[in-house]
């Protein structure tokens, strides 16, 4: 009887240990520190080559898009420091200047943050727009792409 109980205890222990090992190694491999631009400035050199996340506001007027080489560059700020970011590829839907964004990547020796993923933040708060925008305004933007209505 005792021997059997021991057997189950041992089996349970092995399962638990395997689980713990899996969690530990998983965490260790994929844990990513989140920095603000100011924190990044302090710790950038120490963290070179390690995966990081940096979150801040996309600086107005800083967004550049090179369509041929698919480089997107912009700057993230927390009001005190500003980090230049380069990203290969396009940004997700909610990304825009003036809004929050989190980028994941590494600090490049050339002095910019090389992003592999952009996560756009978007506020669910209700704000009445200063000037309610109509569909016409959006239409005006893409007038050159509109075809004459065929009828």
């Amino acid at each position: 009887m005792k021997g059997r109980k021991l057997k189950y205890l041992v089996a349970g222990g092995i399962v638990l240990a395997a689980l713990a090992g899996l969690v530990y190694s998983g965490m260790k491999e994929s844990m990513v520190y989140f920095y603000t631009p100011s924190e990044l400035k302090e710790k950038a050199e120490a963290a070179r080559g390690r995966a990081l996340r940096v979150g801040g506001m996309v600086v107005e007027g800083s967004v550049r898009w090179d369509p041929q080489n698919l480089w997107l560059s912009f700057a993230l700020t927390d009001g005190q420091s500003t980090v230049p970011v380069r990203h290969k590829g396009t940004a997700p839907d909610l990304f825009r200047a003036g809004a929050g964004a989190v980028v994941e990547g590494t600090w490049a020796p050339e002095g910019y943050f090389r992003s592999s993923t952009i996560m756009a933040k978007h506020s669910e708060e209700y704000r009445v727009p200063k000037k309610p925008e109509t569909l016409e305004a959006k239409k005006e933007l893409f007038k050159s792409l509109m075809k004459e209505e065929k009828r």
Binding site: L19, V23, R53, T90, D93, A120, K121, L135, L141, F142
Partner: protein, 659 residues
């Protein structure tokens, strides 16, 4: 007007609910039938009142009554009526009202269905269900009032996020809520069994069907959410380990464990405490998930901002855990198991191991979801653990689960002899080896894919083997044809064969998940009109941009032709939708769906003069198998839960006609 009336109705409903719970318990203790009758009326009244509250809020939404803050936030004059209706679950207050309503309907259903049965349990079941209802009504009365006013009354509302103005919004959230609320029924019976001390297998048998149906809704909601995300969110994926997804996944894992472990208790009278703990855990995780995602403490694409609601949910969670754990401790003397595990090589231990793995996955998902919160609270460092962690940890555990799915249903109870093992597993194993060799020959070289597909072949082999052997045996003994024998088998042991069909669905889905995640290809390129992007065996030609006005937005799209060799296989038009009052566009994905692979195209960005467009192309092989797997699971559950009597009747009628 509606604001005052709505608030009053909710307050009244709260009063009736508390009264019903009190009379239920008092009636049961004193054995007074009049009090019990009164409590049943209270359940009905509380259901009617919450229904009235829902009708009022829907009326305000449909008629665009912008004196209500909630209506302003979740609808606009211009929306289609169905999206105005869906505004009800567009954010926090309304979704709590929806939850409270479903909860009240379930309570009424339970009271109506069992009005003449299980009288020992029922008063306490009703009290627990009413207690849960009371919690949601309290949240609305004191924290998140859906009938709050706004002043000045704005001319128009903000409306739902355009991402949500799709038909899926009418289905996915409802499925999830039905699943969440559904688990409250077995939970209530579990509590009632503890309170009354009738802790035998009775409560499991009563709630079996409720549990499986709740599980089906939750599973359906999760699959549907993935499908929705894949088709419309424009990132080509279906699961991101987002906290809200995890919040629905965790109760699914423990609920799945529960469905399996009750079978051991029914058969062997073991694991009584474990089953009670599992259903408590499942319901607690439902509440915890809601706390996590609705209190705004975690960043998530699904999250709603919240206020005191978070604290209320946390308090409720504490009450659930405290009460149920004390009850289990109080009844511990009656909860001693009768059976013992005879051998490690047995069905019991396969099921037990399945439970350990499922709860283990749940635990790792839980850790990954709350770890960032903990480290921030304790060390002040912000840390995130993203998809890599979840994938790393859940893939090996998921594979173990897959293997057990093949072993569990066929291995003998008690102690499996070597001959039993050989008889049941030799052929499936050989089949899996042959299948994997064929895949190797077809060019599958990646270790992850090979292991996953080997396990899939093995499970598939065991399921087919079981069906074939059982059909053949029956056909031989009864002299029926093979098809008739199979049908009779499905009818006779629907739970077993329904379960096997569910497993088949899981295998199909796992094949889709494994192949699509290992073999997906992605390319992004900027094209000028006439240029082509090459991906896999496709060439995608860009034929210019176009724009047009739609009722609610302006759509800009790229005209693309997909060629395979010289053959045109599809005209695809991925685009971007520009909504008024939204500063960024929303993707409008286009794809060629096919059973073998999806060609998935996204218009990433473009020049406004039409001179170029950046196209992201993906090939997602066999991803549609995931959705097909979901449908097979649905089929299996339907086979498993269809009412016995009705089927027997149908069978008898068919036999009479044949004779």
């Amino acid at each position: 007007m509606i604001a005052t009336l709505g608030g009053f109705v909710l307050f009244l409903a709260l009063g009736v609910t508390l009264y019903g719970a009190a009379t239920s318990i008092a009636g049961a203790r004193a054995g007074r039938e009049d009090l019990l009758a009164s409590s049943r009326n209270a359940i009905l009244a509380h259901c009617c009142l919450v229904t009235l509250a829902i009708v009022l809020l829907e009326y305000a939404l449909i008629t665009s009554d912008f004196s209500l803050r909630y209506v302003v936030g979740n609808s606009t004059r211009g929306s289609l009526t169905r999206y105005k209706i869906a505004g009800l679950w567009g954010s926090l207050e309304g979704s709590i009202l929806l939850w409270a309503w479903l909860q009240s309907v379930f309570a009424a259903l339970v009271a109506a269905r069992y009005h003449d049965r299980h009288q020992a349990y029922l008063p306490y079941v009703q009290a627990v269900l009413l207690g849960i209802s009371a919690f949601f009504l309290t949240v609305m009365t004191f924290g998140a009032n859906p009938f709050a006013r706004i002043f000045p009354v704005p001319p128009d509302g903000r409306g739902l996020n355009p991402l949500l103005e799709v038909t899926d919004m009418l289905i996915h959230p409802l499925l999830l809520y039905l699943g969440y609320v559904g688990f409250s029924v077995p939970f209530a019976f579990a509590m009632a069994s503890l309170i009354t001390g009738r802790v035998s297998e009775e409560w499991l048998k009563i709630t079996r069907r409720w549990t499986v149906v709740a599980w089906l809704f939750l599973t359906g909601g999760i699959f549907y959410g993935g499908w929705w995300s894949y088709r419309t969110l424009g990132w080509g994926g279906y699961w991101a380990w987002d906290p809200v997804e995890n919040a629905s996944f965790m109760p699914w894992l423990t609920g799945t464990a529960f469905i399996h472990s009750v079978m051991i208790q029914e058969r062997k009278r073991m694991l009584k405490v474990w089953n009670l703990a599992l259903i408590t855990l499942t319901f607690s995780l439902v509440i915890f998930g809601t706390f996590l995602t609705r209190s705004g403490i975690l960043g998530s694409v699904h999250a709603f901002a919240g206020g005191p609601v978070g604290a209320l949910f946390l308090g409720f969670l504490a009450v659930i855990l405290l009460v149920s754990l004390s009850l289990i401790a109080y009844r511990s003397d009656r909860l001693k198991g009768h059976g013992e595990l005879d051998s490690i090589v047995s069905r019991e231990s396969a099921f037990l191991l399945n439970n350990v793995v499922l709860v283990g996955i749940c635990f790792t998902v839980f850790l990954g979801t709350v770890f960032p919160l903990l480290t921030e609270a304790i060390r002040g460092a912000k840390i995130s653990v993203g998809s890599p962690y979840f994938n790393r940890v859940s893939v090996p555990l998921g594979l173990a689960l897959l293997l057990l799915m093949g072993v569990g249903p066929l291995i003998a109870w008690g102690r499996a002899s070597l001959s039993n093992l050989r008889r049941n597993f030799l052929k499936p194993l050989m089949g899996a080896a042959v299948g994997t060799a064929i895949l190797w020959g077809a060019g599958v070289r990646e270790a992850e894919a090979l292991v996953a597909l080997f396990f899939c072949c093995f499970v598939l082999g065991t399921i087919l083997y079981e069906f074939v052997v059982a059909t053949r045996t029956r056909a031989k003994t009864t002299g029926e044809g093979a098809l008739l024998a199979l049908g009779a088998l499905l009818l006779r042991s629907r739970r077993r064969y329904g379960g096997l069909i569910v497993h088949l669905g899981v295998v199909v889905a796992v094949v889709g998940i494994a192949v699509s995640s290992v073999y997906k290809v992605e390319r992004e390129q900027t094209l000028q009109p006439g240029e082509r992007l090459r991906i896999g065996s496709y060439a995608i030609q860009f034929d210019g941009l176009e724009a047009a006005e739609r009722p609610t937005h302006v759509l800009v799209w790229a005209n693309l032709k997909a060629f395979k060799g010289d053959k045109l296989v599809a005209d695809l038009m991925p685009g971007q939708r520009f909504y008024p009052n939204q500063q960024t566009p929303f993707a409008s994905v286009d794809a060629r769906y096919h059973w073998s692979e999806d060609l998935y195209l996204i218009l990433s960005t473009f020049e406004r003069n039409g001179s170029s467009a950046t196209i992201k192309a993906m090939i997602n092989p066999m991803i549609s198998w995931i959705w097909v797997g979901g449908l097979v699971i649905l089929l299996g559950v339907i086979v498993a839960v269809l009412p016995e009597r009705r089927l027997a009747l149908l069978g008898a009628r068919a036999k009479a006609q044949a004779a």
